[in-house]
């Protein structure tokens, strides 16, 4: 059985612990947390004082104010809800790519990132669920807020191996009915496939009032296409399929195609108010995550 420390080095934990996830919108929940709730109550975070009226519970009286003013005031707290987050981790074959410089596959990077997020959110008493998928949903772990839930997630992340083709659109459409309570959807994927279908599926999520963050995982090779000699590109998602070419002659066209693809995805996400965070596997994922969280808090 793996332990959380297999995925999170102490340095990583130290960096992530200095940030807090703040949902941009108030999400319904019943557990206390840091997320603002439209329901005022008697929770952890003080909101305002009001004068005592008969019927109020005496335990909510603010005795310090009574001592100073000789009047009864009731402390009102803003009730905190818990964040119901679901991590969607792509386990398709394309995620198995290991670049020439990074030394880690995109899938490994994705699972570590998912572990980090799970740990962080469970520490905040948020609920975290996990979905692994390729061309269909492989495993669905519903969100739970118990700290012990982390181990279940990590075990699943360790057990999953990448393979098969990617069908992001269809998988996301299938997931929408399962995630009936609105919450935070964190997609960790390279998002390879038909961009139009993907955006439609994301719109479906948005329609179900989910907040979506996409961590798009790249390898440096995919962004820079550094190949020089004749190369046979074996398809990771389709056994036996390969392409033989002299990369130097195709680099320009590839880069143009890549740029076009990224722009299409970025503009689609912006249109649906989805956060798209590109992350490269040779960059420390913890730093990238911390950077994003800081940005997210600022926006929030």
């Amino acid at each position: 059985m793996s332990h959380i420390t297999d995925y999170l080095t102490p340095q990583d934990l130290a960096k992530i612990a200095s940030h807090q996830i703040l949902a941009r919108r108030v999400v319904e929940g019943f557990c206390s947390g840091l997320h603002r709730s439209p329901h005022k109550g008697f929770s952890v975070e003080f909101k305002q004082h009001r004068q005592y009226v008969p019927g109020d519970e005496i335990r909510h009286l603010d005795w310090k104010v009574y001592g100073k003013t000789d009047r009864f005031y009731i402390r009102e707290y803003e009730e905190e809800t818990n964040l119901r987050a679901t991590l969607l981790v792509d386990s398709s074959g394309s995620m198995d790519y290991t670049g020439s410089t990074s030394g880690i596959s995109k899938h490994d990077y994705a699972t570590r990132l998912a572990a980090c997020l799970s740990y962080l959110m469970l520490q905040q008493a948020d609920s975290v669920g996990l979905v692994t998928f390729d061309d269909q949903v492989r495993r669905y772990i519903p969100p739970r807020g118990r700290p012990a839930h982390l181990q279940a997630i990590i075990d699943e992340l360790e057990a999953v191996t990448p393979g098969n083709e990617t069908e992001l659109g269809r998988v996301f459409h299938d997931l929408v009915p399962k995630l009936h309570r609105r919450g935070l959807i964190i997609i960790i994927s390279d998002c390879f496939g038909d961009v139009g279908e993907l955006l439609k599926a994301l719109a479906h999520f948005k329609h179900a009032r989910h907040e979506i963050i996409i961590f798009q995982i790249w390898d440096r090779d995919e962004l820079e296409f550094p190949f020089k000699q004749w190369t046979r590109f074996e398809n990771l998602e389709q056994a036996g399929h390969h392409i033989m070419l002299d990369p130097i002659h195709l680099k320009t066209a590839y880069m143009e195609n890549l740029e076009q693809y990224r722009q299409q995805l970025t503009s689609g996400c912006r249109r649906h108010r989805i956060d798209l965070v590109p992350m490269v596997t040779d960059e420390p994922y913890a730093e990238a995550l911390a950077y994003y969280l800081a940005l997210r808090r600022k926006v929030g």
């Binding site: 790519y97 190949f227 004749w230 046979r232 074996e234 398809n235 392409i243 070419l245 002659h249 195709l250």
Partner: protein, 791 residues
């Protein structure tokens, strides 16, 4: 189209290198498990044709670069534009069409393939001579004046070219034509002028394109050199021309066609000359024979001088015999012949020389001073100046000191071992001792006789010859002294006798360390008692310098062949492993039974002569023969002068002087016949300094002057074959030209007319080089362009 370096065409196979690299790269690929396949597939679907086209274009360019470079290095010469277009342009078009057809699809492919097929069919028709779009007569050949040329001019500078006609010499005319030919050549032409006299030699170290300098140097040339070896000259000229690089290649022979130089040239030699002169099929030469001068065979020459005796001493009378030859058809009734010593008139004679006849004129002279002298016989005629005189350098010696070691002295007259020898070497001295009058002649040799015990360094001082006569043996110190004496150039003569310790001679004197005994002594042969059956010298013609005086059939110098030898030592010729060493020993003469009588061996710088019998009258009657004195004198003179180098040499033979050791390391002056000074370094050689001078190209008098002002004369002689001035007739010259496949001209105007008719192929290597560079830049540009925007 021809190629100068056809073998380099094989380099065109290098076109396959880029192809092989391309295929090799395709085979040696890298495998990547790739995820972003959807990005690649789109790219490939859109760019596949473009990439293939780009790769094909680059591949064709890369293949063409080495192929065209090889073609360029092979230096093609185009004689006909049709060949160029048919053999280069159409194949290239066919190749490009084929490549394009391969890339295209549908109708375009069919059209391009058809066009390619048409090109191939046309090529085949053109190769088989069935059809050609272009007529045959589209010549690419350029007139002479339009192309640079490689020209070799063989200029006859033998002294026959000095013959005067119409107020000018043949050589002056030849120089004028040569200079004009050079001036007419296109700028940048390579020119080599080869002087033909006494061995063909180029005027410049390498072919030059500096016409002005060449013309200036030609203007300063003078004739006077020896005979021409025509075959050698053509061979040298053709060899030089082969190394030169222009398409137009001219071999021009400027000569007087002297019969003496051509009559001995065989048909096979002419055939060989034709092959050499005309070059190869890919590099043809134009051969032109320029005939200067007309036949005027009237010429009389001093052909030779003979000096007797061979070595001259002060006060000795010397006889000089001049051989005069009249090559003309006119009899000289009173030819004035002048005899000069050291440029000073001494005597003159008039003689009659018939047409085509030869006479001898004798002069005698007695030198009053020792040293180097030069004698000359000169004719007073108006014909060819170069052969009207003949010089001869003589070293006149004061005297030659000879030390005789008497191994069997006696108080009785002529009983001592060296008594006869002493008289034989210095007869005039003894004659005066005996009261002779009226004889003012002096002896060249000055003999001193001592006993064995008296042989020491003091006794040997100043001596040039040492004779050991019947000496039993020497002490160790004496052997070392004699060894040093011989190795430093002294002469040693060993006479046999009854006192000899044979064992000591064989083991000490003849040891490997001393090497002073030419042949070991085996045993005593003959007997004094058997005088009735004496041994004699083999009758023969003597080759050795010292014995040549006995070759006179009139026996004016006496004879030795009648000598009776009763006793002698049998000398053992080396056998077995020592046979090679025996080659150093030469036998001057043998006895009838085959036993060597006189043998000679060089030891260091000196010489040892071993005589198998005694020098007195005990073992033979040699001392009583009239040839005894000449024999002993010649042997002694030979031993004394063998270290001297010859004063009279032939062309290209080095002159050498042996000087006192004090001049070692000094720079000495050598003046050539034209008075030009050359400096030579004296080097140490044993106890002497030796000076050598190799640049004896020009015949005449050379002078070596030592720092103390002493002059040594040398004379370089050449063959007098050039004195026969008759030339080949016009018909004969035409026949020679026909055999050489050459054109004959007799003036500059004729040459220009002939040259103007010649056409030469055009070299296209420069265009090919430009094509290679263009393709290189194109490859770089296209490579960059095709992969542009690569970050």
């Amino acid at each position: 189209m021809t190629f100068w370096n056809p073998i380099l065409l094989a380099g065109a196979a290098a076109f396959s290198i880029p192809l092989i690299i391309h295929l090799f790269n395709r085979r040696k690929f890298r495998v990547v498990n790739w995820g972003a396949m959807h990005l690649l597939e789109t790219v490939i679907r859109i760019n596949k044709k473009r990439i293939q086209l780009e790769q094909l274009i680059l591949l064709i360019i890369r293949c063409l670069i080495p192929a065209i470079l090889a073609l360029c290095l092979a230096r093609p010469v185009v004689n006909n534009w049709r060949t160029l277009i048919d053999w280069m342009l159409f194949p290239l078009i066919a190749l490009v069409l084929f490549a394009c057809a391969w890339l295209m699809k549908g109708v375009a492919r069919t059209v391009l393939a058809c066009l390619c097929g048409v090109c191939v069919v046309y090529l085949l028709c053109s190769m088989l001579g069935l059809f050609s779009l272009l007529p045959d007569d589209i010549t690419a050949r350029a007139p002479s004046g339009d192309v640079r040329s490689s020209t070799v001019i063989l200029l006859d500078n033998s002294y026959s070219m000095d013959a005067a006609q119409d107020g000018s010499t043949n050589f002056e005319k030849a120089k004028g034509i040569t200079s004009q030919i050079i001036n007419d050549l296109k700028r940048g032409s390579d020119i080599s002028v080869i002087m033909m006299g006494d061995g063909a030699e180029s005027m410049t170290d390498a072919p030059s394109s500096n016409r002005k300098t060449l013309v200036e140097r030609i203007a300063g040339l003078t004739p006077g050199f020896g005979s021409v070896d025509t075959v050698d000259a053509i061979e040298t000229g053709a060899g030089t021309l082969v190394e030169m690089s222009n398409v137009k290649r001219d071999l021009i022979l400027v000569t007087d066609f002297q019969r003496a130089n051509w009559q001995d040239v065989s048909e096979s030699a002419l055939s060989n000359m034709k092959r050499l002169a005309n070059g190869s099929e890919s590099r043809p030469h134009s051969v032109t024979l320029v005939h200067t001068g007309k036949t005027n065979p009237n010429n009389i020459a001093v052909e030779n001088l003979v000096i007797e005796p061979r070595v001259v001493g002060v006060g000795q009378e010397v006889t000089i015999r001049a051989d005069l030859v009249n090559h003309g058809s006119k009899t000289h009734e009173a030819l004035y012949v002048e005899f000069l010593v050291d440029k000073q008139h001494k005597r003159s004679k008039t003689t009659r020389v018939f047409a085509n006849d030869r006479v001898q004129v004798l002069f005698s002279h007695t030198f009053k001073t020792a040293g180097s002298h030069i004698v000359e016989v000169r004719l007073d005629t108006q014909d060819l100046e170069a052969d009207n005189s003949f010089q001869y350098a003589i070293d006149v010696l004061e005297h030659i000191d000879v030390l005789l070691v008497n191994g069997d002295p006696s108080d009785q007259p002529l009983k001592g071992e060296t008594d006869f020898l002493e008289v034989a070497l210095s007869p005039h001295l003894w004659e005066s001792h005996l009261g002779g009058e009226g004889n003012k002649l002096t002896d060249l040799l000055r003999a001193t006789s001592i006993e064995t015990v008296a042989l020491d360094a003091e006794a040997l001082k100043g001596k040039r010859v040492l004779a050991l006569a019947n000496v039993k043996k020497l002490t160790g110190g004496q052997v070392a002294l004699v060894k040093s004496f011989v190795r430093n150039g002294g002469g040693l003569i060993l006479f046999a006798g009854s006192n000899l310790d044979i064992k000591w001679y064989n083991e000490i004197l003849g040891s490997d360390e001393n090497e002073l005994l030419p042949l070991p002594i085996e045993s005593l042969a003959g007997s004094v008692e058997k005088r009735a059956h004496p041994a004699r010298i083999v009758r023969q013609r003597f080759d050795h310098d010292a014995l040549q005086v006995f070759n006179d059939e009139a026996h004016r110098n006496g004879r030795i062949d009648l000598t009776e030898f009763w006793m002698w030592y049998r000398l053992l010729p080396p056998q077995g492993e020592d046979a090679g060493e025996g080659l150093q020993v030469s036998v001057l003469t043998r006895m009838e039974n085959g036993d060597p009588l006189i043998v000679e061996k060089r030891v260091g710088k000196g010489l040892v002569i071993q005589v198998a019998t005694a020098c007195d009258a005990d073992w033979s009657n040699l001392p009583t023969q009239n040839g005894y004195a000449p024999l002993m004198q010649e042997l002694a003179i030979h031993l004394a002068t063998q270290i001297n180098s010859p004063r009279n040499v032939t062309i290209n033979q080095k002159i050498q002087a042996v000087l006192p050791a004090k001049w070692v390391g000094q720079s000495l002056a050598v003046f050539d016949p034209e008075g030009e000074e050359h400096r030579v370094q004296a080097t140490a050689s044993g106890a002497f300094a030796v000076v050598q001078f190799h640049e004896t190209k020009r015949p005449g008098e050379y002078r070596l002057v030592t720092p103390d002002g002493v002059t040594r004369h040398f004379v370089v002689t050449t063959s007098r074959r050039e004195s026969r001035l008759d030339q080949l007739t016009d018909d004969e010259i035409e026949k020679v030209a026909e055999k050489l496949d050459a054109r004959v001209v007799r003036s500059l105007a004729e040459y220009r007319e002939v040259d103007a008719q010649r056409r030469h192929g055009r070299e296209i290597w420069k265009w090919l080089m430009i094509a290679v560079l263009t393709f290189l830049f194109a490859e770089m540009f296209l490579q960059h362009w095709f992969t542009r925007r690569i970050s």
